[in-house]
């Protein structure tokens, strides 16, 4: 979240770094190279490798893994993953935007308290929060109990392990990640600009679409990045709420590394996913820049 704010501090830079300063910074630099740069490069190398019958990786160049990514089976799963993530993102924006806006408009003590109410689920493990929904949606769970008790239904509905359950789980897990960055932008928004739009004769819809949305776009873009991309690869929620009925790309990747023992193919899927992430990131940034200087 912090990384996506546009006020990311530039290296302030006092005096020029000497040998000592370089030596002190070396652990951090090495850590990032060893555990961020090298692993991703390794993943890229793996994705062009083959494997033997035992699942061991053979360093022999092949395009086969990428060809397999474009196999209709996997393309469909990839498409479905993107679809689920897109639906989740749209719902999160629609549900979260008014909340972020409302909180940003409040006066000081109330605003901080409401914000804290968003922070708590933001920090609470999504796993625990997803588990809470299992208790509600399960066949012998709370919702079915209530529905049967009130006589709405006679037989329990199967609510868990459905696409709807997956979407509920994803929205529930990611909603705070949408509200917080939008709040960050909405809070900075100068009310005078909205009033100016009013005074210049803009109706509420025009004021919203031509003033408020562009000005809070950085927050929306950051929220989309925090929701859309992670939701594509999230296998735990689909496992728990979908019961492996609707495998998404994350489940496939996870399978390749463990059950199927085809790490090179898993790596290729991972690289494709990373490229999707980079493209989304670049798009969000470009839109932000163009809206910043019309």
């Amino acid at each position: 979240m912090h990384a996506l704010s546009d006020t990311a501090p530039a290296p302030a830079g006092g005096r020029r770094a000497g040998v000592m300063a370089w030596l002190l910074l070396a652990p951090l630099g090495l850590w990032l190279v060893l555990f961020v740069v090298v692993p991703i490069a390794g993943l890229a190398v793996y994705s062009f490798c083959q494997r033997d019958d035992l699942g061991r990786v053979i360093y022999d160049f092949t395009w086969e893994n990428y060809a397999r990514v474009f196999d209709p089976i996997y393309l469909r799963i990839l498409g479905r993953s993107v679809g689920y993530a897109a639906v989740t993102t749209v719902i999160c924006v629609a549900v979260g935007y008014p909340v972020a806006w409302f909180i940003a408009r409040q006066r000081s003590p109330l605003r901080e308290r409401l914000l804290l109410l968003v922070m708590i689920p933001f920090w609470t493990s999504f796993l625990i929060r997803t588990y809470a929904w299992i208790a509600i949606l399960k066949t012998e769970g709370l919702l079915n109990g209530l529905l049967q008790f009130s006589g709405v239904v006679t037989a329990p509905l199967s609510l868990l392990y459905t696409p709807t359950a997956v979407i509920i789980g994803l929205v529930y897990a990611y909603l705070p990640f949408m509200i917080l960055p939008i709040y960050g932008s909405a809070e900075k928004l100068d009310n005078a600009l909205v009033e100016a739009a009013h005074d210049l004769g803009a109706g509420p819809i025009r004021a919203f679409s031509e003033v408020i949305i562009p000005l809070t776009w950085p927050g929306i873009a950051a929220g989309i990045l925090l929701v859309f991309v992670p939701a594509i690869g999230m296998f735990a929620i689909t496992d728990l709420m979908g019961g492996a009925q609707v495998p998404l790309i994350g489940n496939v990747i996870q399978n390749q590394f463990f059950r199927a023992r085809n790490a090179p193919f898993g790596a290729a899927l991972g690289i494709v996913f990373t490229l999707m992430f980079i493209v989304t990131y670049a798009l969000a940034h470009r839109r932000r820049r163009s809206s910043a200087s019309p």
Binding site: G13, G14, R16, V38
Partner: protein, 276 residues
């Protein structure tokens, strides 16, 4: 804000705005209910004597008591605390020193490094998990505490670094100069003057790192062996099977711990902002 009072026609518009405001408020309440009701249900169930959740059969603390007797859960808890503890110490060291150096000195590639620091914070967890798994298997490192701690530190320390950087931006440069004038070496000045000044940010970053590490599932999933399974891994395995009253109790304890950490961290952050 505006110098002249609004002309009368605005009144009509204002009442419309007030209506909109009320609608937004109501919507916010609904969303908070959506966010908190499932958690509330979990809390209530954790005290339910019934094994099956739906029917309330009386209050009990039995499920909490049984947590202590469950060796699997206790071992996972121990693993989680070891991992989160080591991760926090490493993250604070890397993050605090890194933030200070980047603030104090001008480096070539400083900008590149700053970008690189943000990568683990925004990178999809599954990509981080599989890329580290590939690294560890390639160099022949057996999955265990070391691999999990390395993985967790990689995405935790940037949070400490950013928190400390935010506080450094408000720092008076005279603070360090004064210490140096009084004869302190740069290292002594850092330890005796800068670190105390940064304490709220360091503590708040440390709490963040601890919470993140404690809650992390996806990256752990790829970098841990069965022997060092952390609590989230155990919970994930149990939740896949279905409901379990002990799991309800465990989840509630997890939520209570997280809420405590968040409140404390927020308190520290506010303290840090208020101080000069």
């Amino acid at each position: 804000m505006r110098p002249i009072p609004p002309p009368p026609p605005l009144h009509a518009r204002w009442s419309g705005l007030r209506l909109l405001e009320a609608g937004l408020g109501a919507w916010t309440v609904v969303v908070f209910l959506f966010l908190y009701l499932p958690i509330l249900v979990l809390v209530v169930y954790s005290f339910n004597a019934s094994r099956l959740n739906v029917v309330w059969e009386g209050f009990t603390l039995d499920w909490y008591g049984r947590l202590w007797d469950d060796t699997r859960i206790m071992r996972a808890l121990k693993n989680s605390l070891i991992v989160a503890g080591c991760t926090t110490v490493l993250s604070v060291a890397l993050g605090t020193v890194g933030a200070w150096l980047l603030h104090r000195y001008r480096y070539r590639f400083g900008r590149t490094l700053q970008t690189l620091i943000a990568v683990p914070m925004i990178m999809p967890e599954i990509v981080m998990g599989i890329s580290l798994l590939v690294l560890f298997t390639t160099v022949g490192l057996k999955l265990g505490f070391l691999t999990v701690i390395v993985a967790h530190t990689t995405f935790c320390f940037p949070f400490v670094l950013i928190a400390v950087q935010a506080r450094l931006q408000g720092m008076d440069p005279a603070l360090e100069e004064a210490a140096m004038d009084l004869g302190a070496t740069p290292v002594r000045a850092f330890l005796l003057v800068i670190v105390p000044y940064l304490r709220p940010a360091i503590l708040s970053g440390a709490l963040m790192a601890f919470t993140l590490s404690l809650d992390e599932l996806i990256v752990t999933f790829f970098t841990a062996s069965a022997q060092v399974a952390t609590l989230p891994l155990l919970v994930f395995g149990m939740a896949k099977v279905g409901l379990n009253p002990m799991l309800n109790a465990l989840s509630v304890l997890f939520i209570v711990a997280t809420v405590a950490f968040v409140l404390f961290s927020e308190h520290l952050r506010r303290l840090g902002r208020r101080a000069p």
